[in-house]
Symmetry: C2
Subunit: 355 residues, 2 copies
Amino acid sequence: MTRPRITRQSDIARLAGVSQATVSMVLNDRAGTNRIPETTQARIREAMAELGYVPNIAAQSLRGGRNGLIGVHTFERVFPVSPEDYYHEFLNGIEEQAVEEGLDLVLFASTQRADGTRTIYGNGSNRMRLADGAIILGFEKNDDEIRRLDNEGFPFVFIGHREVEGVEIAYVTADYAEAMAPVVRTLVDAGHRSVAYLAAPVRGLPQAERLHGFTRSAAGTPIHDFATHVRSVDDVSSEWLRDVMLSGATAIVVETYELARALALTLDELGILTPAELSVISLDSDPRGGGRFSHVNVPRREMGRRAVTLLLSVIESSSNPHEVVLRSTPSLCTPPDGESVAPPAVTSLRTTGIA
Amino acid sequence: MTRPRITRQSDIARLAGVSQATVSMVLNDRAGTNRIPETTQARIREAMAELGYVPNIAAQSLRGGRNGLIGVHTFERVFPVSPEDYYHEFLNGIEEQAVEEGLDLVLFASTQRADGTRTIYGNGSNRMRLADGAIILGFEKNDDEIRRLDNEGFPFVFIGHREVEGVEIAYVTADYAEAMAPVVRTLVDAGHRSVAYLAAPVRGLPQAERLHGFTRSAAGTPIHDFATHVRSVDDVSSEWLRDVMLSGATAIVVETYELARALALTLDELGILTPAELSVISLDSDPRGGGRFSHVNVPRREMGRRAVTLLLSVIESSSNPHEVVLRSTPSLCTPPDGESVAPPAVTSLRTTGIA
DNA sequence: CTGAAAGCGCTTACAG
DNA sequence: CTGAAAGCGCTTACAG
């Protein structure tokens, strides 16, 4: 057969004896507005079914409409499809919400450069524009590209609080500062007075917010807290732990799950028992399944879902510039249970042979 | 500013003092063929850089070209972004290869129906056509939809061996039959003579191929093998295990990782030791990390990668129908180690108090 | 109530 | 060597 294998609106129109434009209207439910008689509509739908019509999305998209495609981009090295990855749970949430909204997801894999990082414009074309909007994940960001994206009027949202000068960034974040209060309370109630805050190398605002929130939460309590900054997980050595405990800390608050893992190893190495000899709370859950310590649960899946919702409203408002753009969707973290927290062990230094 | 925020070819053309068509040629490196002088080309590239041109992919796509989008579809309930999911590792491979080929991935999330299953045409439009081609994952399949897809000339490949009458399906599979030989050898060498094959409810050809391959491999050996079919993991009860061992089996070959998990639980329940009292080999690795038994390693990541490569060649050949379509890419499974295999324990029935 | 027409941004024959 | 034109399949004012 020489006729095109794929049906288009004009084929339906011919079969139904109407114009192609009419087919389009019926398809898009603009029929009501235009008062196309039910009989004609029925004829058109029949023809559609008979020919197995399927709209051409590229054409719809080109014509200026939305195409139901939500992009996901990350400036990070690896795309978060690996289960180990911190971002994986965000992606799960994004996917869940996409299902609910009837949207498809585009994972921008093509944008990876030789060094493994990703760019938006690096490869000459902003592939993102293929989607109605995009969700951007990851610690890294490129301010110039973000600015340019914004300048083009392309709708996007970040997962995690991000600031770029001159751009009003829409983002989804967890309310880290608020999540710190129960952490402090748990420690105070258990009787701790000297607490070390094991801080990861700062990679973004959210981390800064956690430390800040913790310090502020601790301010009104009997707790004396001090931050101990490490440059990498390797710094969480037995020497480091010895120093921390010698300084009098009876509890440690760990900022990230990577550090929590490192701490767990070091504790094992020294044979220190949790929580009998040292209380620990992690401010993050381990993507590999909770983690060994009581931890604040960052609602990553929920944040992913909200990112989709937020993006949808940004897309909406970008076609209607007078509407206010929702700038952030704080969501609550689940407070830690008390499992790895116990009253301070006054004799711990001696018992563990550290002193 | 009233001019459109997004640069298009005609803007460049105006700035460079050429026609829009010329811009297109330079962009697509058809310049050489058409002998556009270097100076003109340079002028155009300059203008492109100045205006920050980015092609409109919808337009390119509409015009008939490829758009570098690879779809991923599954007829299954849940999309494989969850780490627990069997298919997740395939997706990882797909993503890896996509990065290498400079392709983007579309996860078809919109196609989910109320009951959780997915359809291609169910929602009225074949969203897949938005991509250059698609990879289809999952046990389930809908023959009618596959036939229709094929009929439309849409390029697609399956992960896993699939047959649909009247359609030449391109697929990537692992050579399960071949993988069975080392399994049998391991058991024979350890001295086993009576081996039970724990078979899952058959959901597709790959499973049938495993059982078939195992039986055939065992045929030339001293092994007496018998299949024990269960309807669900719940059937792998202590009663079931008792029956199997009473029938004389000294080793069990498990078909899937789900069954392997169930078997592990039942063994624990009865306090039966592996491999001292019973040898076990799983024909599948547990996505949650290997699994407790020696197992055949299905190269899922590699299969994902090859699915992309295969799809690319299908896309290629569909624009050139005289080319032969690669129909399958068998890849090798890694044979099991011998950890959960030991010589048969003749006294096991008595020791474990089963008899 | 329905059709003819413009145009979204591109690529690709086809002229000159 | 380069431009004018057609057309990919749609949607949306605009006529009638």
